[in-house]
Amino acid sequence: MKLQHYLGLLVVGIGIAVLITFFSPLASSEPDGLEKVAENEGFIKEAKDAPYEVIADYALPWVDNEDVGTILGGIIGVFIVAAITLAAGVLLWRLRGAQRPTSSGGEPS
């Protein structure tokens, strides 16, 4: 298993994800499903703030322009999520039970 064999897939796939984050400033800021239900039914006030904030609301706090901050926050998130998931996948592959020792296919079922 060499991830560099899949460089094209990774670059294009993660590139698409990064492209999507450029549209994040256009996202609707209306309350969403659960939030709206919580407002209507009067339990929104029960929500508690997070005990700490890293990139709350997807916007980098030290970037003045909120649109730019949100796009950069999204890009950081895309790479964190990709890195963690790839690490998990590589680990799963390395430690695989070798039930089907194929190098390419292997259908999850």
């Binding site: 990774l10 209306e30 309350p31 919580a38 929500a47 964190i80 039970g97 079922s109």
Partner: protein, 232 residues
Amino acid sequence: MAMIDPASLESIEAPAMHIPDGFVSAPVAGVGFALAGVAIGFAVWRANRTIGERFVPLMGVMAAFIFAAQMLNFPVAGGTSGHMVGGALAAILLGPWAAMIAMTSVVAVQALVFQDGGLAALGANVFNMAVVACLVGYVVYTVLIRFSHIAPWVRYVAAFAAAWFAVELAAVACSIELALSDTSPLSVALPAMVGVHAAIGVGEGLITVAAVAFVTATRPDLLAAQVPVTED
């Protein structure tokens, strides 16, 4: 997010289905972690036995795509927005077990880094969006794809239905958690959540169909291992 007003900046973000802390009681949060832990443990065990090499990069790409897509809240009726969950799409392309692992990393990063979804509620959120959504999406898709010999577009109907039901069942799970937490009675939360997410599920379905169509057009080999091809 661009034109967010100052008052709502003070409010707590609770995107589409991400439960913030305070909505679920300690016992429900604990059961959420237990159920999510058992399910993800099983998924790791299954994925470990069945993972194919190409699914490793695809897991990373899918997780990155779903994280980005979840940021794009689209408006639905009645001053409400929704965003993709992605569980069904992940399950269609990765199978349910690798999909659950990819979705778990998305939901965990959202809670830990982006304060989207509570820390105590993380187990419940993983259960709803990674476990329920992926399993429901996979089951609905695999049942309907058996009819793909009728016409090629059946695959897209299957993808749409998988996404819609995945969102609805995740919303049902969320309602049950709110009810068990005495946050909102089931008679109130269930119809409200199911109603809102019936609309959000249409958006989820359209995005899922578009993504499946895109993969079919560009990398059909990535689908080949997953879709039971009926012509053989």
